[in-house]
């Protein structure tokens, strides 16, 4: 256990009434299978605007499949995804950025040959209006746009303490730094919805605490709603407003950290070991 109780979420009271608030993301009866393997089985849940929503579950529970379905990389067999007021049977990945959604990947998905700054600035390229010719000729509009994008990218590097790595090719950086670069790339476009797939995997305790702070700031100051897959239960309990628990592709628990902590189905499926220990202590 790494996180401390002092990291309790700020917004817990407001998150207890998700139905009343408009949702940033809703999935409704999402099912997905690969051949005979069921990855998702009728999963439904909502993410309220401004909330930090964790998705947890044992390995192979379908967490990443869920994010991939939400970002359109997988096409669900049935069910719908609601994003920013639109309903999709299959989310168009190409429009994701325009919908205000960005994400990070479980295994790093950076542009290895580009510098850190270029990687982060690439997160804004979809907003540039100048055509190729204008860029090549160097028309004032193209130059202004580009300078603006790089200014924003630099600001985000400062925010995530990446200035020192600014010009390094991203492939040469340590794993934890690359994770932060990917977060910076996802954040630079000021997304309304940020999907994080295990952002803290492989990080040290200090790095995790730092990143937890960054995620909070992303929500509080940058206004992003956050869906977070994370294995570190301490981090999840401290950071999230509500938690959805998946097991074998089914949603087996959904609620505040408190509720999840006391949910018998969750304990059986996911915290089974802890349950046994508690039971043992009780005897």
């Amino acid at each position: 256990m790494t996180a401390t109780p002092s990291e309790a979420p700020h917004l817990q009271p407001s998150a207890t009434q998700p139905q009343a608030a408009p949702s940033a993301l809703a999935v409704d009866g999402l099912s997905l299978s690969f051949g005979g393997v069921t990855a998702l089985n009728g999963v439904s849940f909502t993410v309220a605007v401004g909330e930090i929503r964790a998705v947890i579950g044992p390995n192979g529970a379908g967490k990443s499949s869920l994010l991939n379905a939400v970002s359109g990389l997988y096409r669900p067999d049935s069910g719908r995804v609601w994003l920013g007021g639109h309903s999709f049977a299959a989310v168009p990945t190409d429009r994701l950025a325009a919908l205000g959604v960005s994400r990070t990947f479980q295994n790093l998905a950076l542009f290895k040959g580009l510098s850190v700054l270029d990687n982060v600035a690439a997160g804004l390229t979809h907003r540039l209006r100048a055509g190729v010719l204008a860029q090549v000729i160097g028309l004032p509009t193209a130059r202004r746009e580009r300078a603006d994008a790089y200014d924003r990218a630099e600001a985000l590097l400062a925010f995530l303490h990446l200035e020192d790595a600014r010009d390094r090719p991203v492939g040469t950086l340590p794993y934890g730094v690359q994770k932060r670069v990917e977060l910076a790339r996802a954040l630079v476009a000021r997304p309304r919805l940020l999907l994080l797939d295990e952002p803290m995997a492989g990080m040290t305790l200090t790095e995790k605490q730092e990143l937890t702070g960054c995620i909070r700031v992303a929500r509080d100051d940058l206004g992003a709603t956050i869906v977070l897959i994370e294995h570190d239960i301490g981090v999840v309990m401290g950071l999230s407003d509500r938690i959805a628990v998946l097991d074998y592709g089914r949603l087996i628990g959904d609620g505040t950290p408190e509720a999840i902590r006391n949910n018998q189905a969750v304990i059986d499926a996911y915290l089974g070991v802890a349950h046994d220990l508690e039971a043992g202590e009780g005897i």
Binding site: A109, F111, Q135, V136, A147, D167
Partner: protein, 378 residues
């Protein structure tokens, strides 16, 4: 706010976006060593060489070098920057060459510069068509589908007499080179013409790879899924890469035909040529503008050097058959050695060498004049 990223004092031959070269995005513009180097190179190429070079130097070395370097530059956009493998480069050279020939034959009133641009556009259009499979195919599968371009285009030029003005042998002689009334059909003239075209295209390519679109191409190469997720128009970028690359390779074909060989025949643009261009890019260095030039220099100079060497060492034993055989063997070995020793190509090798020399110089300088050397960091 006048000096933005695009004004970086990095010249055409400086490293591509995957190098760490840009250190000061804005602020003082100070000519970098590379800028000085390129300026010096251009001065020598435009000013000095035409005065001192021999006909042999221009006809056998420099002009083919320029054409192949340009083709390498074109392929590098597609393969080095955008990460799409192509084995059909010679086909696009052929399209450019035949298009320019037919334009100058059938529309003689057009200035030759317009011919070149149109020839490039025709090659770009053909490249776009053969780039369509890239929307669904990747890697080896795409490479195989670009082979279709190679065989199909060569077959068409062999089969349809119209393209070669119904010449019985299939070989056509191109009209002498002349731009704006200026006859450029001598060795030096054709060389200078090629040099001008290559300089202009290189400048444009440098601007392109340094632009957000160029970065987007590299993003597509490094991680296509992530590129899609952050909203890059992946399909458009792929087609753009094919079109721009084919345009440049088509212009290289025009140079090959009009400035170098002065004839056009389909056999000159066979699969061997496609591989030659691919080798140029790989040996020179993927995603490096300089690499195309270094690779082309090696590919052009190496056989000549080997012929000279063989003649000197072995005399009469070294006939043309042995020469051709030994060229293939040594070149093959060279490529294997390169791929093992320096996958990033001659360009990276040169970088390392330069850093070592610069390091030595700085050390020497700080020893000779400690004051100016001490506060300079490398």
């Amino acid at each position: 706010m006048t000096d933005l990223a695009l004004d970086k004092p990095v010249p055409p031959n400086a490293a591509g976006p995957n190098r760490t070269a840009p250190t000061a995005r804005r602020g003082m513009v100070r000519p970098s060593p590379t800028a000085l180097g390129v300026g010096l190179l251009l001065a020598v190429a435009f000013g000095l060489l035409p005065l001192v070079g021999s006909e042999y130097l221009f006809d056998a070395i420099l002009t083919p070098f320029l054409a192949l370097a340009l083709a390498g530059l074109g392929l590098n956009i597609l393969t080095g920057y955008a990460g799409q493998v192509s084995l059909g480069s010679a086909a696009f050279m052929a399209v450019g060459a035949y298009a320019a020939f037919n334009l100058s034959l059938r529309l003689p009133e057009l200035p030759f510069v317009v011919d070149i641009l149109l020839a490039g556009l025709v090659a770009a259009a053909v490249g776009l068509v053969f780039g369509l499979p890239s929307l669904r195919l990747r890697g080896f599968y795409l490479a195989v589908s670009t082979l279709a371009a190679q065989f199909f285009v060569q077959w068409v030029f062999n089969k349809v007499g119209w393209f070669s003005n119904n010449s019985p042998s299939g070989i056509v002689t191109v009209p002498p080179l002349s731009v704006a009334g200026l006859a450029l059909d001598g060795s030096v003239g054709r060389y200078l013409f090629g040099l001008s075209v290559v300089s202009v295209v290189t400048l444009v390519v440098w601007r392109l790879v340094d632009s957000p679109t160029g970065r987007a191409l590299a993003a597509l190469r490094d991680h296509e899924t992530a590129a899609r997720v952050i909203g890059l128009p992946v399909l458009r970028l792929k087609l753009l890469a094919f079109a721009v690359s084919s345009f440049i390779i088509g212009v290289a074909g025009v140079l090959w035909a009009f400035a170098y060989l002065r004839t056009v025949e389909p056999a000159g643009f066979n699969l061997d040529r496609s591989f030659q261009i691919l080798f140029i890019v790989i040996i020179g260095g993927l995603a490096s503008l300089r690499g195309a030039f270094l690779g082309a220099a090696l590919i052009v100079v190496f056989p000549l050097a080997l012929a000279r060497l063989g003649e000197t060492l072995l005399g009469g034993l070294f006939d043309s058959g042995v020469l051709e055989m030994s060229q293939r063997i040594v070149l093959g070995l060279l490529i294997i050695a390169f791929l093992i020793a320096e996958p990033a190509g001659l360009s990276a090798l040169l970088d390392r060498l330069w850093h070592r020399i610069a390091g030595r110089l700085t050390a020497l300088c700080s020893r000779l004049c400690p004051r100016s050397g001490s506060n300079r960091s490398v």
